[in-house]
């Protein structure tokens, strides 16, 4: 079965700094999803990537799926306190409707 490992597990950055979170898969990634979770709350969809080399951006968050399709990175530029939370990567088989397997999560704190 597919396993997703995220790094780092937790991260504290100063407001205004850039950061990167990685998601590494034990198998080829076909559909890769990034979600944000505030502690004890629901999952908010950020981005979906499907093609090797694909890169998407939304506001100050950019996600990329590498060419070999076994790793994705999430980059936040000029972090703000509102970026704090738990970032989760999830993968499916690329069909868009099968189950998601989730990564271990990265807890981000942004200090003023």
């Amino acid at each position: 079965s597919q396993e997703l490992e995220q790094s780092p597990q937790s991260l504290i950055v100063q407001e205004g700094k850039n950061l990167t979170i990685n998601c590494t898969s034990s198998k080829t990634l076909y559909g890769l999803y990034w979600y944000k979770q505030k502690y004890g709350e629901g999952l908010i969809f950020l981005m979906m990537l499907q093609k090797g080399g694909e890169e998407k951006s939304h506001e100050k968050i950019t996600a990329k799926l590498d060419e070999k399709k076994q790793q994705s990175s999430l980059h936040i530029t000029a972090s703000q306190p509102s970026h704090a939370g738990i970032y989760l990567c999830g993968a499916d088989k690329g069909t868009g409707f099968q189950k998601l397997v989730f990564g271990t999560g990265t807890r981000l704190l942004v200090s003023p």
Partner: protein, 112 residues
């Protein structure tokens, strides 16, 4: 923006009791899911549901669990006889097949 609605947000139940967690998926979505997250752990897939039947279930989803779509809008998860280890956040999700999975805000189930 359309939402997946879950009720209740928090439920406390005694061990051995039956609980029903309720979800209203997005109206034009076709695929429905339940996931759970034990505190501090990964989000885990429980079951997927399509065309009024279970399409896939995990090892966690044993005979104590059942799902139902009793009408055109609700999607429920029933746990027949709750155990302490069923304490978790339960998330409902839905998709119409392309473009990402939308998650609800979750029901925090506490079994005492």
């Amino acid at each position: 923006e359309p939402e997946v609605t879950q009720t209740p947000s928090h439920q406390v139940t005694q061990m051995g009791q039956e609980v029903i967690l309720r979800c209203v998926p997005i109206s034009n979505h076709l695929y429905f899911y339940w996931y759970r997250q034990i505190l501090g752990q990964k989000v885990e897939f429980l079951v997927s549901f399509y065309n009024n039947e279970i399409s896939e279930k995990s090892e966690i989803f044993d005979d104590q669990f059942s799902v139902e779509r009793p009408d055109g809008s609700n999607f429920t998860l029933k746990i027949r006889s709750t155990k302490l280890e069923d304490s978790a956040m339960y998330f409902c999700a839905s998709t119409w097949g392309v473009g990402g999975y939308t998650f609800g805000s979750g029901t925090r189930l506490t079994v005492v």
